[in-house]
Symmetry: C2
Subunit: 397 residues, 2 copies
């Protein structure tokens, strides 16, 4: 596998673009991805009981058509908690796009992110759609889907499958409300491999637990989260089938793309100054390890301590303790940026100056060794800063 300097339109047969339509004041707020041919599609959606209209429409179309050819996304207005009008608007968004592209409506995915509860300004949408042209600047797509994100989040890789080179690319938006099981997160992944929607769903589902579902920014789960993977078969390689070495290779490729996007989302959490990576090792099983890692990375007290560059490892052990995992807690080692701070569940002294040095890094790794098995779990998050409060206290107004 090779990391390339590409974007969401790097896989064969895809194009993407973004522009300012007017959902937001000045920034780009409307984008699209289009495939030359209908692509196989797989998706995972928010676990929130309250599901935004565009997700309902997209999920329904994916189930019905089992293919997707185009995807339109706006940022600024989430079209969530908008009742029947919101549903109608999401269907209209799908229909207008289909008409513009001269394809069937159910081949169009729609996604919205931004303020909850406001109705979609349909004239703004129409204005955006009127400028939709296939073949554009896909870096603008990465910009157009952002809300309070400070950076675009993209990754692209290639891998050899026999004589064919398959390209896969991902783009995401994250920021606030990132937590278990899909939060206000949108991630779109394109690929040019030949793979059925069913096999694609298998690969997506088996990788989501260890990647996107292991990041947390503030514990809130949004109504609009969605990950969609499109693979259009344009490389004309052999079809990738389950239970083959090719599937494993494809799955590893997808895992890498998803994990990179997940880490980029965590690092760019609202107000974040540092990426936090927690690795729980020697656990009885990987589910327990992941739950514990996520408990630590999600602790407000750990997050504020890391923001303050304070090696308050007691809070780490406390978060291990309330993870809801039945593991003995009397023989735990904790390492903060490779410096042991607790061995066999007892504090160990460390050089305060060395610690101050490593705590200044913009990525902090916490390792928790349970000495209770051989499984590993990882989770990613960010520190909790003044800016998180500032951004979220004043978001709506």
């Amino acid at each position: 596998m090779k990391i390339i300097d590409g974007n969401i339109a790097s896989p064969l047969g895809f194009s993407a673009d973004g522009l300012h339509a007017g959902f937001k004041k000045r920034k780009k707020d409307f984008g699209w991805i289009v495939s030359e041919v209908p692509a196989s599609v797989a998706g995972v959606y928010t676990t929130n009981k309250v599901i935004a209209a565009p997700l309902i429409v997209t999920r329904e179309s994916v189930t019905k058509a089992q293919k997707m050819q185009a995807l339109v996304v706006n940022s600024g207005v989430a079209n969530s908690c908008t009742g029947l009008q919101g549903m109608e608007d999401a269907y209209t968004m799908q229909k207008w796009t289909a008409t513009k592209l001269k394809i069937a409506p159910e081949l169009v995915g729609v996604a919205s992110t931004g303020v909850i509860g406001d109705l979609m300004p349909m004239d703004t949408l129409q204005k955006g759609l009127s400028k939709l042209v296939v073949n554009g600047n896909s870096d603008d797509f990465a910009q157009a889907i952002l809300t309070t994100d400070t950076k675009v989040k993209t990754v692209a890789v290639t891998e050899q499958f026999g004589r064919d080179e398959v390209t896969m690319a991902g783009v995401a938006k994250g920021s606030g409300m990132i937590h278990p099981n899909m939060a206000t997160m949108l991630a779109f992944i394109t690929c040019d491999a030949v793979i059925s929607s069913e096999t694609l769903q298998l690969a997506l589902s088996q990788n989501v637990e260890t990647t996107f579902n292991q990041i947390t920014v503030d514990g809130d789960t949004s109504t609009n989260d969605m990950v969609l993977v499109l693979s259009n078969g344009c490389t004309l390689n052999q079809e990738i089938l389950p239970n083959t070495p090719e599937f494993d290779k494809f799955s590893a490729m997808l895992h890498f793309v998803m994990q990179e996007l997940a880490k980029k989302i965590a690092k760019d959490g609202e107000g974040a100054t540092k990426l936090i990576e927690v690795e729980v090792i020697n656990a009885p099983n990987s589910l327990d390890a992941r739950m514990m890692a996520k408990s630590v990375v999600g602790s407000s007290l750990v997050k504020t301590a890391i923001f303050g560059e304070d090696p308050n490892w007691g809070r780490i052990l406390a978060a291990v303790g309330y993870a809801g995992v039945n593991v003995p807690v009397d023989n735990i080692d904790i390492y903060l940026a490779d410096i042991p701070v607790m061995l066999a569940s007892s504090p160990v002294g460390f050089d305060e100056e060395d610690m101050q040095d490593v705590m200044q890094a913009d990525a902090i790794t916490i390792v928790v060794d349970l000495h209770a098995g051989d499984s590993v779990g990882r989770a990613w998050g960010c520190d909790l800063s003044y800016d998180y409060v500032k951004i979220n206290a004043l978001y709506r107004t």
Copy 2:
């Protein structure tokens, strides 16, 4: 029931005091409650897997002796995550107190709150204990148990049981790490009723779910939480027995004291500027209602919005949706400080100026009407402010 201007030593036969021993730099940090005679005792303890040494010692003694006569508490050092030495120190704390008071060690409860991971400074403890005298200023006890709390938290009530007047009083400390199922919270309740330890435990257990377990400050659950109720029988009234009108009266009294302490803890959460009360009504059952209320009051996005005086009700609905409760979410009404903001799960317009006025209050009530039954659940919390971050980024150093 009558609220009186009393304190933890108001029930007959109790005394309490507090002083500065040196666990903290300047503030009072060591206190005790002593009963003239061994009292019936009931307790609930943290659900964190990592349990601090003083809790292990106290719980063990309560189980063994089924009585308690004295309680010593220090603030500044939590004696948590301190390994075998921590256990030894907690036993020593119990033994030294017993020797000083000339009672059996298992009649002494010990509690510690403050920084996790540091060993107890035993010379400081000895210094504090050397000044322990029965009959002191019980307002100083309320001071001595605080950490980052800004206010003492006390409540006292009386109730007639036949010709006898029973007095009950409570004192608590709260602040950070307040969350489900006992967080860094200490609450001590004294009473002079005649009641067995078993019946007292029954009354405590049936009220803890709707009071202390319904407050949240930051989602972290501490290693040191404990609620202890002591009732010494000094009124010489009839014994209160289960399944009697007297028991119901006693339980209502205890519920009131616990709820008042819980609300005071929520209101004084670290960095809090506002108390948030969430009431979920017309729910299918009270457990679901409580889970939902707690999900809303614990949402970082709701908390920051309230801090910003922003009526961002979409975040409230989102938190209802991820509460993990299986309730239809298509016919929900939401009221923010009595102003309807959502009816039948659709936004309703409101007067922005009226809303700005009510959002300035220092207590904000959120009502969520599910139209799905007749049960009610309440939860209390506080907003998330810059000061929360400040306090917790710099706590240890």
